[in-house]
């Protein structure tokens, strides 16, 4: 029943929102004095409330960086936890200004669902976790297995595709929330749990005995995860896109949380000067202050720092694909000029 009410509320918002309110998200955020940022219901490393009730993780830091760039205050964020199937509606209806919650960039979502993707913050791929005692080495050996999965995700579709492509009969048990799916797997209801590799690693650490679970080597899909904004507000889309590019550029250029203030004053590199507003006014191009990236980097650090703090330090996730393009990965920011 609560499902109806949630979706009903979104629909009501979609129906009653004044036409054109979505055209100036920047003004709305400034007027409200806070950024309504949709996050997950709790995925360690990406967005998860800590013991003090603060949201931490890579996705939460992206919210913070945008709030810092737009409002000058990284704490002016209202986090809105969203289930997978609510995320698109919450953005298209204007219930949140953006989401930063492990959402895969797909053509259909981008074109036909009233939302736009911005820039990839994490290149992920879907995999399987199984109990170590099942004794299987490859996902191709899973014929007949029961798989726990979350509804409203690309994961669910990839699972069906993988079964079809490899002639495996996989029996899905589909849950509304990620937590329920993980609990059902942990209780032995399913032989396997499937979601993005990074999240499998995160959930594995949350089990009583992580070594009793094994992540299979197959990566069965491409999952480029990107923040979402509502379709039709180009300025707001530019802001979120370029804040993400700014964080990646900062890592490329060696600008860190610790040295950003100093770099803004002393750096002789024109690229750094343009990004940090020392020369020219890149912030003005997207309607922000010239110090937009100084504010963002002082709040959360550059992309590498965000990654290390949230994913490497706590979950032991390697950079892999998410390493900078100059270091063998594919993280590549468009030039800020």
């Amino acid at each position: 029943m609560h499902d109806f009410m949630k979706i009903g509320a979104f629909t009501a918002a979609a129906v009653t929102a004044a036409a054109g309110a979505s055209a100036a998200t920047l003004d709305d955020v400034r007027a409200a004095g806070e950024l309504a940022c949709g996050v997950s219901e709790g995925v360690p490393g990406f967005s998860n409330p800590n013991s003090d009730g603060d949201w931490v993780g890579l996705d939460a830091d992206v919210c913070r960086a945008v709030a810092a760039a737009v409002l000058g205050d990284a704490n002016a964020v209202r986090y809105v936890p969203l289930a997978s199937k609510q995320k698109v509606l919450a953005v298209s209806s204007g219930q949140v200004d953006m989401t930063s919650r492990t959402t895969t960039w797909t053509m259909k979502r981008d074109s036909a669902e009233g939302v736009d993707f911005t820039a990839v913050v994490y290149y992920d791929g879907q995999g399987f976790m199984v109990s170590a005692e099942a004794g299987i080495e490859s996902a191709k050996e899973m014929d007949g297995a029961t798989v726990c999965v979350t509804t409203g995700t690309t994961t669910e579709l990839n699972l069906a595709d993988f079964g079809r492509a490899n002639g495996l009969s996989l029996e899905p048990v589909v849950f509304e929330g990620k937590r329920e799916a993980v609990d059902a797997y942990a209780s032995g209801r399913c032989d396997a749990l499937t979601t993005d590799m990074s999240q499998l690693a995160a959930f594995r650490t949350s089990f009583a005995d992580p070594s009793a679970h094994k992540i299979l080597p197959e990566v069965i899909s491409k999952e480029p995860l990107s923040p979402l904004v509502a379709h039709g507000d180009n300025q707001w889309k530019d802001i979120v896109t370029w804040v993400v590019f700014g964080l990646i550029s900062a890592e490329e250029l060696g600008v860190t949380q610790a040295n950003v203030a100093e770099m803004a004053e002393t750096s002789k590199d024109p690229n750094v000067q343009r990004m940090l507003g020392t020369s020219g006014d890149t912030g003005g191009l997207i309607g922000l202050e010239s110090t937009w990236m100084v504010d963002a980097i002082s709040a959360v650090g550059n992309y590498g720092e965000i990654y290390d703090r949230n994913l490497t330090a706590t979950l032991g996730l390697e950079r892999g694909l998410n390493e900078l393009w100059t270091k063998g990965g594919i993280m590549y920011a468009m030039p800020i000029r």
């Binding site: 109806f4 979706i7 979502r109 009233g114 899973m142 409203g152 069906a160 079809r164 329920e180």
Partner: protein, 390 residues
């Protein structure tokens, strides 16, 4: 009648005119609001670049469904996937209505029983189940009771071929073998003969006054003839036993834990309400009527069937109609425990293609249809029961 009506027509009182006018105004207002809502929705959807319309129903769904009554695979369309959900909703609702009615009647009778222990147990059951949120009951059954069962590797074997594990309840599947068609026809004939005997017994009693045990006789005829046919056609019903292979049981009939939890939860919850309806129905019949019947020497079975039930049902049926409707709506809690009912699958479709307005409209249409049909059926039954009143 018609004359007096036409005579009254020309003298349309001011009051009638006002009431027509005001009702017309209210109707216009409602239509206006509906129009504004509709056009505003269309405008907003177009503005946000969201598709609308029902074209998506034919597109390939691609989503996996774990529990389906009809043959489903991900290459089917969204409309077909939604149909799978509707059937699952109907299936669990119909079974839950049947079992909750049976359990509810027992609970109601136990509530008014002279047996102190039985009455108290029933009272505790009703008060507990009625006062707990159904969602909590479902979670408890799903993640505490059923999850405590053993892994399929070490499944409990109740009798040969019947297994109980945390992956579900597995039964042998009956298989039709050679000669099944002949046996099936013979069974139908036996059923018809049994029915005919019962009818004959009723008519015979009305004509002559002599009582023949028609009901039990009819059942006896059916059972004996069917059994005979089964042996004569060479036992044409085999069975496919579930066998543990690889990850799970294969073959047989499977009842998944999600379905089992939802069914058990709905039955226990609704039976508590139906039990109360039955109790209030029984207590509404005046004690004097039962005493009078007893004084006339009528047997207790006949008292229950001919005196107590017809009067009790008048009170019980309307209230139970509401509980059936609630049960159907409550089945949407399936989504919390992973059973693919209509709301779960519809929610998935919204997640995949974002067309929430259409799916919500379809949900409402289906629930409305189911509940109106239940309401019609129950009103029909109620009308029949009312006729029995003198």
């Amino acid at each position: 009648m018609s004359q007096s009506k036409s005579a009254a027509k020309p003298r349309l009182s001011t009051q009638t005119a006002w009431s027509v006018l005001s009702q017309g105004a209210v109707l216009a207002l409602v239509m206006g609001i509906v129009y504004v809502l509709f056009s505003n929705t269309q405008e907003n959807l177009a503005l946000r670049g969201i598709e609308s319309g029902f074209d998506f129903l034919g597109k390939e769904a691609g989503l996996p469904i774990g529990d389906s009554l009809i043959d489903y695979d991900p290459t089917r369309g969204y409309g077909y996937a939604f149909l799978v959900g509707i059937l699952n909703t109907l299936f669990v609702s119909v079974l839950a209505i049947i079992f909750s009615t049976i359990l509810g009647v027992f609970v109601g009778i136990a509530r008014v029983s002279q047996n102190w222990l039985l009455a108290k147990v029933a009272a505790i059951y009703v008060e507990t189940l009625r006062n707990l949120p159904l969602l909590l009951t479902l979670f408890f059954i799903y993640s505490v009771v059923l999850a405590a069962l053993p892994h399929p590797r070490a499944a409990l074997e109740l009798v040969e071929g019947v297994y109980l594990s945390k992956r579900g309840f597995y039964l042998p599947r009956p298989l039709a073998e050679d000669g099944f068609v002949i046996f099936f026809i013979a069974a139908l004939v036996a059923f018809a003969l049994g029915l005919a005997f019962w009818r004959w017994a009723v008519i015979h009693k009305l004509r002559t006054g002599t009582s023949v045990p028609g009901f039990w006789g009819g059942i006896g005829i059916f059972v004996v003839l069917t059994g005979l046919a089964y042996v004569l056609t060479g036992r044409p019903v085999g069975s496919e036993l579930p066998v543990y292979a690889g990850f799970n049981f294969k073959g047989g009939i499977a009842m998944k834990p999600e379905f089992a939890s939802l069914l058990i939860g709905l039955v226990l919850y609704t039976a508590a309400y139906i039990g109360e309806n039955v109790r209030s129905g029984i207590q509404s019949v005046q004690a004097g009527q039962i005493e009078a019947a007893n004084a006339l020497g009528v047997s207790s079975g006949v008292v229950t069937r001919m005196v107590l039930l017809p009067q009790a049902l008048r009170v019980t049926i309307p209230a139970t109609t509401n509980d059936y409707a609630s049960l159907v709506k409550n089945s949407s809690l399936a989504v919390a425990i992973g059973y693919p009912d209509m709301v779960s699958i519809g929610g998935t479709i919204i997640g995949q293609n974002g067309q929430a307005v259409e799916i919500i409209a379809m949900w409402m249409a289906v629930y409305l249809t189911i509940n109106l049909i239940i309401s019609m059926g129950m009103n029909f039954v109620n009308a029949r029961v009312q006729l029995a009143e003198r």
